[in-house]
């Protein structure tokens, strides 16, 4: 297991992160359910990168700071996090909510960012694309919708539910609501400023995403015309889990060129 746990205080927020591997820095920004465990794709990326997996403020083992009110607060926080760790030309890989955070960071400041990999990111709305309402779905339905191949959902549903896991899930859900309840999982002002992103961008999406429909990928590509768009077939909302090998190959090829 090449990953070690770390803790650092940034903006008054005790922040937990895992770090492992060697190479250029890569920061993985997790989605709404956090990053409670090291997943195979992280291990694989750690063979080529210095991988950092922070728990965002309000998620996982990080604090819930008083100042955390909206997605912009998270963007400024993560820019301070990059400064604090003195990361240079970091590859920012953001999944879902994390992809939204990556976009909000990059429109503000890319001085420490080398490139962005946006994995079915939230953050923008697309005409006629109806995201799932994860605040109204039961936990089981949410897990089922995350995946195209239901065996991944079955695995997650079969995992034992500990009191600690319930506490973490409620904490993560609370922060997700705080950041994304309204407007739902997007920032209507964001498209105005996407042109400010001056680093290479890759957009990755599962063709069968039942959380954020793939139509949003095309809208994002329209707004970021120079971005590379990869759509994985037979894949749901988490390509890094369902198509881990292809996903990691794409990140390496894209970020190391």
């Amino acid at each position: 297991m090449p990953f070690a746990d770390h803790s650092i205080e940034v903006d008054g927020c005790r922040t937990h992160y895992r770090r492992g591997g060697k190479g250029p820095p890569l920061v993985f920004l997790h989605g709404a359910s956090g990053a409670p465990v090291v997943l195979p794709f992280m291990e694989k990326l750690a063979q080529r990168f210095d991988v950092l997996v922070p728990d965002a403020p309000g998620y996982g083992q990080s604090d819930e700071p008083e100042w955390l009110e909206n997605i912009h607060d998270v963007a400024y926080f993560y820019l301070d996090f990059l400064n604090r760790l003195e990361l240079e030309r970091a590859v920012i890989v953001g999944s879902s909510m994390g992809g939204w955070m990556a976009l909000e960071m990059a429109v503000r400041n890319t001085s420490r960012i080398g490139s962005l990999v946006l994995v079915s990111p939230a953050g923008i709305a697309a005409p006629r694309a109806e995201p799932a309402d994860i605040f109204l779905l039961s936990p089981e339905d949410t897990i089922r919708r995350l995946f195209h191949e239901q065996r991944y959902a079955e695995e997650r549903l079969a995992a034992p539910v500990t009191p600690e896991a319930i506490d973490l899930a409620l904490k993560n859900r609370h922060t997700t609501a705080r950041l994304a309840w309204e407007p739902r999982f997007h920032d209507p002002m964001l498209p105005k400023w996407l042109h400010r992103i001056d680093v290479p961008v890759a957009i990755v999406w599962g063709a069968q995403d039942r959380i954020l429909p793939v139509a949003i990928a095309h809208e994002l590509k329209r707004l970021l015309p120079r971005a590379e768009l990869a759509i994985f077939e037979r894949c749901g909302h988490l390509p890094q889990v369902e198509k881990a090998d292809e996903f990691c190959d794409l990140v390496v090829r894209f970020a190391c060129r």
Binding site: F135, I166, L170, K171, R173, H174, A177, W181, E182
Partner: protein, 380 residues
């Protein structure tokens, strides 16, 4: 004791099977299930029932606010309270309550309540609530800011009612350069404020605070829960160093009075069970969105889920004190017993519930008003 006739104004013509099939009549039940012609008849029937409450001698008639649901057809209690303000002469009118955090701006609530208070010549009782969890889904208001918005909206409203304007209010959620309320409320310093609640320590601590001493209403809960929270309110007052007055406590409960215990149960059964098992029902994700309650409370509800979210029969509901039903004598004795134990100064009776039709509602109101109310009013 002060007796309040409380109405939810449900869509009583609901296709119950459709409500059952959808799992809830809140948020997602398609509004094609609402027939405006039936709605027209229902609104007028319900308003007539509340007006009849004045004739029957109730002290207060009460309306409330719920959104996008067959459970209650009053997205704006302002509309119904306004109609009552003109059609009644003596009875007090309670709005229980306006859902402050859901409003785009609380100044509207300050203004509308002040209008009704002035029109009615000081007969308004103002209730403030946060709105139930489902309404954070339908209104898009972020539930994690619900408490903050409630408290700030309350502060703005009370200041607008009581402080000479114009003044500026710069809150975190609401900002106004000019607060200068026209009309000012009729009552001095302002209409009484009642706080309906399903029970929470935070609400009790806040409502009972010596600066506020607001009337706390425990709504539609098993009687053991009512006892626990009313006692907690009294204890909290004692902790603040003052004695709780009975008028600071209230209990809202559906009631059915029949000619006998058996006929009461027979007449109420289908309608009460529709209320409890169709109109009230919703999934936990809808009831308790993140931040609406503390995470500890949420976990407690998750543990009690089977009991809270399962069906309840009328017999179980009577046993739990969730519903008070029987002959006038039975109902009177039940309330006298509860009163001796809890000393609540306000009893809010819901004489219509679920699908209870007009004739039974009127008969229920009459039997309650004639056979139960006089003895309860005398309690003090």
């Amino acid at each position: 004791m002060q007796i309040v006739l409380f109405h939810l104004m449900p869509y009583a013509d609901l296709d119950l099977a459709a409500g059952r099939k959808n799992g809830t009549v809140w948020v997602t039940l398609p509004n094609r299930n609402f027939d405006p012609e039936k709605g027209h008849k229902l609104y007028n029937r319900y308003l007539d029932e509340l007006e009849y409450g004045e004739a029957l001698g109730f002290d207060v008639v009460a309306v409330n606010e719920h959104h996008q649901t067959a459970y209650g057809l009053m997205p704006s209690p302002i509309v119904t309270a306004s109609a009552l303000a003109r059609r009644t002469k003596r009875v007090k009118i309670a709005i229980l309550g306006s859902a402050l955090p859901l409003r785009a701006h609380p100044m509207m609530v300050a203004e509308e309540h002040a209008m009704i208070d002035v029109i009615s010549g000081g007969r308004l009782i103002s209730g403030f609530v946060r709105g139930i969890g489902a309404e954070y889904h339908t209104f898009g208001v972020n539930p994690t800011f619900s408490h903050d918005r409630f408290h700030e909206a309350h502060d703005l409203i009370v200041r607008a009612w009581t402080e000479p304007g114009p003044f500026s209010f710069q809150g975190h959620h609401y900002k106004l350069q000019y607060v200068n309320l026209w009309p000012r409320p009729y009552q001095k310093p302002h209409p009484p404020i009642w706080i309906p609640s399903q029970g929470s320590k935070e609400t009790i601590d806040w409502a009972s605070h010596p600066e506020r001493r607001y009337t706390y209403l425990q709504t539609f809960s098993p009687v053991k829960v009512v006892q626990r929270y009313l006692k907690q309110y009294r204890d909290t007052c004692a902790g603040y160093g003052y004695g709780c007055e009975d008028r600071q406590l209230g209990w809202a409960v559906p009631v059915y009075v029949g000619d006998s215990d058996a006929s009461a149960r027979a007449e109420a059964k289908a309608h009460f069970e529709a209320f409890r098992n169709v109109y009230v029902r919703m999934p936990i994700e809808m009831l308790l969105p993140p931040g609406y309650t503390s995470r500890e409370s949420l976990k407690n509800v998750m543990k009690a889920k089977a009991q809270m979210f399962g069906d309840v029969t009328i017999e179980q509901a009577i046993e739990l004190g969730l519903f008070v039903c029987g002959s006038a004598e039975t109902v009177t004795r039940a309330f006298e017993g509860y009163w001796r134990d809890m000393r609540f100064g306000n009893l809010l009776v819901m004489c219509q519930f679920g699908t209870l039709p007009a004739e039974l509602t009127r008969a229920n109101m009459e039997r309650f008003a004639r056979g139960v109310m006089p003895r309860l009013k005398a309690l003090e």
